[in-house]
Symmetry: C2
Subunit: 491 residues, 2 copies
Amino acid sequence: MSKALPTRSENYSEWYNELVKRADLAENSAVRGCMVIKPYGYSIWEKMQRALDDMFKETGHQNAYFPLFIPKSYLSKEASHVEGFAKECAVVTHYRLKNDPNGKGVIVDPDAKLEEELIVRPTSETVIWSTYKNWIQSYRDLPLLINQWANVVRWEMRTRLFLRTAEFLWQEGHTAHSTSTEAIAETEQMLDIYATFAEEWMALPVLKGIKTPNERFAGAVETYCIEALMQDGKALQTGTSHFLGQNFATAFDVKFQDKDGKLEYVWGTSWGVSTRLMGALIMAHSDDSGLVLPPKLAPIQVVIVPIYKNEEQLAAITEKAEEIKKQLKKMGISVKYDNNDAYKPGYKFAEYELKGVPVRLAMGARDLENGTVEVARRDTKTKETVSLEGIAAFIGDLLDNIQESIYNKALAFREENTFRVDSFDEFNQVLDTKGGFILAHWDGTPETEEKIKEETKATIRCIPLNAQQESGVCIYSGKPSSQRVVFARAY
Amino acid sequence: MSKALPTRSENYSEWYNELVKRADLAENSAVRGCMVIKPYGYSIWEKMQRALDDMFKETGHQNAYFPLFIPKSYLSKEASHVEGFAKECAVVTHYRLKNDPNGKGVIVDPDAKLEEELIVRPTSETVIWSTYKNWIQSYRDLPLLINQWANVVRWEMRTRLFLRTAEFLWQEGHTAHSTSTEAIAETEQMLDIYATFAEEWMALPVLKGIKTPNERFAGAVETYCIEALMQDGKALQTGTSHFLGQNFATAFDVKFQDKDGKLEYVWGTSWGVSTRLMGALIMAHSDDSGLVLPPKLAPIQVVIVPIYKNEEQLAAITEKAEEIKKQLKKMGISVKYDNNDAYKPGYKFAEYELKGVPVRLAMGARDLENGTVEVARRDTKTKETVSLEGIAAFIGDLLDNIQESIYNKALAFREENTFRVDSFDEFNQVLDTKGGFILAHWDGTPETEEKIKEETKATIRCIPLNAQQESGVCIYSGKPSSQRVVFARAY
């Protein structure tokens, strides 16, 4: 609380890094690239987990748990999969330490070398499909709709809290189906669930689309994604849902007998969101005073701060505050009454601003006399004095209103920062002056995509779903194109 | 469902292994010692997690997340800690694979060797206390009450599903305090929470006690535990809570300034329960027909099976069943209506017996006529015909009754299998003919404890808390003793 945060306009990147630390969300650990998720940050993640888990279960999915370790040979069974993950994985080679004969602590015991190295899972398709082989014999065993909440490791060289870490937490759904149509429907359903979660819980508008082959998940036939826009004009991929075709079924020989007794390879999907969502949540809404949290994901939705000159006043305020707290709790609203005498109200105000508590109530002696309370909302930083009569219902409505208003603000921002451009000059100009989502024609070739990326650092975020068909010419090659795709620089 | 389970009396060990697999709780994976927790098993674990997590939060604990990897040097900082865990840990030495130049898939890239090896956490004291060093400066930062839900790895050579696996899931609480008294109170509080959970949720009576120095957690000053008795007369440790003294604070230099401005080392505790609880749950209550689950942890509490000869009957039964289902759901009871036409009622009965569903309702044409339903309880395998009037309340009471009754049965079993013995001959005889908990005098030395273990395979499970003081002589050495301790052969 000592120094002010760097501002977003000064240094967006530093603002983010500092905010994550000062708001007690996460910090770097002594282990390269691995983060510690602090209690306040973790409680937001828990709320995300609960909401997502409920949505998964409502659509018939069950949770299970698969091993952390993947035998090296498994990773290799799907060619493009190993290509995608081999370059950045943690490898377990030994299973024992022993005392250093030179007396310098412990060393790896050379006699405890594994016959086959184990990879700490970067994702679990291989270990899960090797298991599905035993679970699936007949069409009666399908669909298999399974999700796992787990930690995964990808040995990233440049890491950033929540956005890119060597270890991260996520959920990974892995489903198996008897037809391609059903698997595609599942892939799309899960994308819709992610979009609904982003919009309704995170107050984050997202574009739904499919990735170009270049950006596809290693081993997928088609990767669907949701993309959000951050306040610095950069895009952030917030969830992916993959149609795996029969790739993993073929690699692990998973077949089923259909109704006519014919043996067929199983169709698969996988889909995941991770603690990266925390990064998106922070970057999309927060301001120079700290976090702005949508009420549905705020660990503390309302804080009550007493303003008093003596013990007597405090006692009277406390009585009233506890009454309000009780009313709000009954409505399922989480409330903290902060009567810690060690800090002044001004300090507390700044702290709860930093932590993004959506609503702050301040109550002093005059409020008590007048039967009122000062209500401040975090998102707009506006204050008003409100009668205590019907205060609970007022706060309930206010929280709904804040949730909606944060979403609308983010949506307006995205709309203001979405540009249609028709030439490569214009493309470069918009990228360098404004950033944002750029809708432009592309000739559909990986070569052009790669060249644009090299020259501008912008990538195709997605080919939007249900977009209007529109004839045009590729901004780079001039070749014909039938649909605009979404370009952006991205996290 | 094909073959009957092995019976407990035939081969208890095989009965357990088969039951875990056939009831779809877990199975061995292709990765040595690592299990796959299947959806049905995982849904029981989720119920355990939810109940425990609520109890932790009610007592002021917050969840957080710490890295999976522990630098080798950290593990070494607490001498007895590294001694305890070095012999069975997974060691990450490299961070990349590359294509085999000989064209044989992928190999570990020798150029990607880590400067310092990383240990996959067997427990997190070291990485957490290295973090606490930065979080704790003053008495105002204490107590720090944190829990983590995580996977851990201990490279066990002989593994058994749930009971002993290389990777397992658990929670580990790690708290920091300004006084020894407060830390001990926390250690005892968490033991009480574990005991309450075991008894009220798992229907499992437990003994509370402290471990002998031999059996203490590596790095603890005192280890408290709960011990339960399985049906084969062997003990199973179901939870531990450790008073760490200032051991880890000293190892990681974690000091705080007290109210007088003096710098002191912080006092610590840690406590955990794991997926081992699943093993205890299965072993304690189940029978030769399958699982017996206490209603509070049963994923499906009530199953309704229709018995019909034609579509018309099925339609009428379905209507009634859906009505009952609705009433039960309103009471928060989880119900499955199984109208799958592919299987006969007898098959379904056996399946739900195997899966331990506490209450089964069967409804046929005659029931429909009479306004009745057949109610079967899993634990006693008794059946009765009950009027549909007030059926929901009847089932609600029945579930409470079953929960209590399973507990009472386990308690009676434990009492029948707890023996006071006063000589080593008697000790051996009871051990070999009956097993169970044996209360006997011990001279308090590690040497005697070790000799008894060598000769009988029985260990001191605990020195019971709040036990009666009673003078006697050690059954092995004949030396004086002031209290009986609890011996058993154990998992």
